[in-house]
Amino acid sequence: MNCKRTQRLLPLLVGSELPQSRISAVKAHLERCRKCRIEYDAYLLSLEKTKEWLEEVRQDWNEREWQEALRRATGKKEPKALSLAPWPFKKAWAYAMMAVFAFLLSLFLIRPSFIKQKMEPETGAIAGLKQEPEKMRKESQQDIISMTLVSHETGLRIVWFFNKNFELEVKE
């Protein structure tokens, strides 16, 4: 094996990627050739150092960022931190209490007018039904009916009175 061919294989020899048959041939050449051995040592050193640096610069995730990355992937929601505030001061409680208070207030303020509005036609009808026989009774109790005739030309007023049998009655 000549120097040119050996030097082409050196980058793979340092990482043990050559097949066994070639390794023995290259190593045999290296024992004979000092120049190629220096090249081999240079490759070995550069590779070792680079691997060392790669290990040195190896960085890990910040735990919070890693969890965030996983959460984004799985679509989980971020768990909410527990608040130490007592319950009356929590926002949710405050809103809930406000809603309850507003509801109760509306019961007192809006309810009577609402009832009145809703019940009015019902009471009117009931009242009408109740009033009707009473009216009829009152009418039946009426003894005298009067009829007034007024002349447009002279302004003369004639008042006729009738009894309940519709008989004309004379009144002073």
């Binding site: 990482g15 240079a42 490759y43 050193l45 550069s46 680079t50 890693w66 990355a69 799985t74």
Partner: protein, 188 residues
């Protein structure tokens, strides 16, 4: 300890906690891979977030008996490609690499002073194409076998070897800019 196929089954049945158990062994690896692919920490998190969502969404497509690790990393690598493509970063990266190479070429001491491993690894990886970078990071960064890397990238083992060889050559060249070889060795 449940195996990955069982965990996948549980997730498909609606157990979200199993999803975390399924991904937990790879959470660091996938982030590092994405970070090295994009060269930016925030973008890496974005890539991983997208990958995690895709994994959950398409978990029913995962074939039982296959390597979950390879499947997961293929999604991470593809998400990284997608993000880079979306942001039209390829061109920007190449231009950035060129400018960085020029600047480092003019002032290599600056890099020597900067002892941070990140700067060094970024400098070494910047000359690699996205495919070479992916192959190199999978094999030498994450310890994948050539076969696994070929599964992740959806290419042949031969293609992985070719890209890996090229990546190591380029990395060695970059490495020598940071740590120049002694004169005696160069002459020899």
């Amino acid at each position: 300890m449940k195996n990955e196929d069982e965990l996948v089954e549980e997730v498909l049945r609606g157990d979200d906690d199993s999803f975390e158990n399924l991904l937990c062994p790879y959470r660091q690896g996938m982030l590092s891979m994405a970070c090295r692919m994009s060269g930016d920490w925030e973008e890496a998190k974005e890539i991983c977030q997208e990958a995690v969502i895709k994994v959950f969404k398409h978990l029913h497509k995962f074939k039982k008996g296959k390597s979950f690790k390879s499947w997961l990393y293929s999604i991470v690598v593809n998400s990284a490609y997608d993000l880079l493509r979306r942001k039209k970063r390829y061109q920007g990266l190449i231009e950035g690499q060129k400018s960085l190479m020029l600047s480092s070429g003019s002032d290599p001491e600056k890099l020597l002073i900067d002892k941070e491993a990140k700067a060094k690894i970024d400098f070494c990886l910047q000359s690699l194409s996205p495919k070479e970078k992916a192959v190199f990071l999978l094999r030498d960064g994450e310890g994948f076998s050539v076969k696994e890397a070929s599964e992740v990238l959806g290419c042949s083992s031969m293609s992985v070897r070719t890209h890996l060889s090229r990546a190591r050559q380029k990395i060695r060249e970059q490495f020598e800019k940071i740590y120049p070889a002694p004169e005696s060795e160069v002459k020899a």
